[in-house]
Structure formats: C-alpha cells, structure tokens
C-alpha cells in the first residue's frame, strides 16, 4: 500500500554538496550558482534526501548516464520522496528500458517529425495571436499565465484531438504530478487517475466514431507481433504526451521571454534579424533548459570515476550539463548567435524527447509572433517572477509592462 500520510516539509539546505535538494526554494529561485558549487566539488554528488540520490554535475557525466541503460533504469523518471511499486506501462516509452523501449518509441516518432510539425505551424501562429489579442491593449500582462502557459497545451490538445477549452484541467493535473507529486503521493495518484479516466472516455467515444488524431492513431497502432497495443499501453502513452507536452515548452517559452525582457540588446537584435530566432532558440534552450529527468541505479557502477550504488535515484540534470564550462565556452552567458551548440536540453541517448521538433517549432513561432506585435516589454517592478519546482523549471508568474518605458 502506498504511504498516504501528509507530505513532509524538507529542512532548508545548508550543505549543498552533501545534502542537495532540488525542491529547496533557493534552488528553485536561482539554481545556477548551486550547480557551479556542486560541479566544483565533484562530477557526481550525493544526497541522503529522496531515499538516496546522485546528481551528475558535468556534461560528460550526464552523457555517460543517459547512454548507459544497463546500470540506469528509466522505470522511475521523477526524483520523489517515496518509491512506490512501479506501475506497468506508466508512460511508455519514457518509462521503458530496452528492449521494450524501441518499439514503443517508434510508434510515437512519425507524428512528431519536423515535416509533421510544419503542418501544425499555421494553427500555432493563430493560437499565439489569439492569446496576444487578449491582452495587448492592457499595457501589462502576466506573460506566463496568459501567453506561454497556453501555447503548448493548446498544441498538444489539438494533436490529441481533445478540447483546447479543457486546458486548465490538464495544466492542473501536470502541476499535481510534476510538482506537488514529488512530496505528496496522493496528489500524484489522484491526477493520474483523473487523467486515465478522461482518456478512457475519449477512447470509448472513438470506438464508434474514429478520428484522425493521436488518440485514434494509438488505438489503431500494432505492436511488432501485429497485435493492437494493450489498453494500458495506449493510456500510458497518452498520459505521457499530455504530461510531457505542456509545462516543458510553457517553461521554455516563458524563460525565453524572461531573458528578452531583461536583455534589450538581444531583443533588438532578434527584431532586426528574425532569421536568427531559430539559432537563438537553441541558445535559450541551452541556457534555460527546462527539463530534469531521473534514472534509478539498478546495478553498481562508476560514473566519471565516482562509484554509484544500486537503489539510489539519479537527478539527471540536463540543465546543469548545459551550463558546464568544459563543454560550452562562456557557459554562464547567453550568446544568442552561438553557432556550436551541442546542448542536451532534449536529453541524450534513446530517451531523446519525442516532442523536440514540436517544442522547437512552438518556441520559434511564440517568439516570432510576440516580437512582431510586442517589440517593447520589460519586467514590471511592481510584480514578482516566480519559478516552478522540481522536474520542469520555468517562470509561473511573469509580470511584464508592455510598450516603451516612459
């Protein structure tokens, strides 16, 4: 039985190297100096929190772990306070290990190729402009709550064939799973249950009335023996697409706007040279990577010379890897025309984000449409920027003043 007791508050961190905690408010507000301190200490650090957890701090250590599916399992992908039994088909293929990973991933890849994303682009531009219409004359806006938040959720709802008007429901589930769920098992279970019930009803509707969306696509998919997927697999993959498709890109768009609000020179350059936006998006992805995944150590090994023991989790911080000065010159600076940029924002190895082409397209379109219509904006000194906690990092409140400063 799962632990249903109240979530425990975490004591504040005083020793980052030996007792790190990625849910600590100091980390949530500004993780960058913390990562530098950890990286200076060791390529792999350890905390007793979360029932034992390592964190690789260098790009090389992150790459080693991401490519080592023998010692590191994806059956748990969030570092949490509890380790309940692993659910079957939790969210394939992100929760799958070889050899079952590959066929599950291959099912999802064709709908997310760059060419498939091109077809979605006009709808994305319309979504961005509809959102901008809603606040452009107000002179101020919370750009996270009224812009970045709704772009990816409407895109993935469109692809899944579920109502875009249910966006707030989906966003709440994601918050329960990826943030509150780190410390509160009940919240996570409740959201997973509600999400599964929602998709079960959608599947039922499509049995009599097939559609051409991703739900029907998965219902019609065959495994490598030519058999339809088990219902638990269809549900798991649908949960994954919804969970992975929302606050990840919401965060990336929000962080990008946050950067541009504070950096007029970069903003002016992108307005003057819109052709640079795709390159700038890569740099913003590197510098403000939203997603930190997890692995579970299932066999003892060493990483960058550091022994790691089975039974511990790994906080696989692609964001920290992307700030490694050994890999990126001026790693702590945003260089919007950085040409060599082997960043790991979408992961490395077999679990490369299936939605990376979608996320890139959304970011490019969201910035292009925003800069076209709102070339001048800045942080509202009367407001506060707040950041999400845990698995995905991005601004949740982003108060802006629109127009030229008086």
């Amino acid at each position: 039985m799962s632990d249903v007791s109240q979530p425990a508050a975490h004591p504040p961190v005083t020793d980052w190297v030996n007792d790190f905690d990625h849910t600590d408010p100091q980390w949530t507000d500004d993780p960058f100096p913390i990562w530098e301190e950890l990286r200076a200490a060791s390529p792999v650090v350890h905390t007793e929190r979360f029932l034992g957890c390592y964190m690789p701090t260098t790009y090389e250590a992150v790459r080693e772990i991401a490519n080592d599916t023998e010692h590191f399992s994806s059956r748990r992908i969030i570092v949490r306070d509890v380790r309940p039994e692993v659910a079957r088909n939790a969210a394939p293929p992100i929760t799958s290990d070889p050899p079952v990973h590959k066929p599950a991933k291959q099912l999802l890849l064709p709908p997310f190729t760059p060419d498939a994303m091109k077809k979605l682009e006009p709808r994305m531009r319309a979504i961005c402009n509809e959102l901008i219409d809603g606040f452009i004359t107000d002179g101020k806006v919370d750009a996270a709550a009224r812009y970045s938040k709704y772009i990816p959720v409407q895109a993935i709802a469109h692809m899944l064939g579920i109502p875009e008007s249910d966006s707030d429901l989906f966003i709440n589930w994601i918050h329960m799973i990826l943030e509150l769920g780190i410390k509160d098992e009940n919240k996570l279970l409740q959201a997973v249950q509600e999400m599964s019930d929602y998709f079960r009803a959608q599947i039922e509707e499509r049995r009599s009335k097939p559609t051409d969306d991703l739900i029907s696509y998965l219902m019609n998919a065959k495994d490598k023996e030519g058999q339809p997927l088990e219902e638990s697999h269809v549900l798991g993959s649908l949960r994954l697409l919804l969970i992975a498709g929302i606050d990840t890109t919401w965060s990336a768009i929000g962080s990008s706007l946050w950067h541009l609000a504070r950096t007029p020179a970069d903003r002016e350059r992108l307005i003057a040279e819109p052709g640079l936006i795709p390159i700038a998006v890569e740099e913003l992805l590197r510098a403000y990577s939203p997603v930190t995944m997890a692995r579970e150590v299932v066999k003892e090994t060493t990483i960058s010379g550091c022994p790691v023991k089975a039974g511990n989790m790994v906080l696989l911080s692609f964001p920290a890897a992307n700030r490694d000065p050994k890999m990126f010159p001026d790693a702590d600076k945003v260089v919007i025309d950085r040409r060599e940029n082997r960043h790991a924002a979408f992961g490395l190895g077999i679990h490369r984000c299936v939605g990376s082409n979608l996320a890139r397209m959304e970011m490019q379109v969201a910035l292009e449409e925003w800069l076209k219509r709102i070339p001048d904006f800045r942080l509202d000194p009367a407001g506060t920027v707040t950041w999400s906690q845990g698995t995905v990092r991005g601004p949740r409140q982003l108060p802006f003043l629109l127009g030229k400063a008086m």
Binding site: L109, T113, D115, E282, E340, N341, A344, G349
Partner: protein, 69 residues
C-alpha cells in the same frame, strides 16, 4: 585544390534530434521516424563545407562524421 568533404551519419548513434537537417538541409535527410542519414553518398557540394562542419558540431549524439578526402 580544396579537399572534398563527405558527411556520414552513424545510424546507431543518431537519435533524431534533427539538428543536421535544420542546419544543412542540402546534406541530410530524415526517415519516417525523423532519424537522419546523409543525402545521396554524402558528398558535400562546393560552398556547403561550412554547413557540414556546423551540422557536425551541433549533433548532440556526436553521430556525424565529416570525412576529408
């Protein structure tokens, strides 16, 4: 005379990040899964050498070779 370049994608390493296709669309193609391979026999036409090196230096999986012949 300038060296002739060829690009090659290691299919075992490629994970479909598609950076090569975005940066050098003349030199790479994607399959139905979005995984990359070199266009034709990988020969880099004159003038596209810079794009070949750019694709190589942006591949997160280090899956691209640029071969100087």
């Amino acid at each position: 005379m300038a060296e002739r370049l060829k690009v090659h994608v290691d299919p075992d390493k490629c994970q479909g990040h598609a950076r090569c296709k975005a940066l050098a669309p003349e030199l790479f193609e994607l399959d139905e899964y979005g995984n990359a391979h070199e266009a034709g026999d990988g020969t880099v036409p004159p003038g596209l050498e810079g794009k070949a090196w750019l694709a190589k230096s942006n591949c997160p999986e280090i899956a691209i070779d640029v071969i100087e012949e």
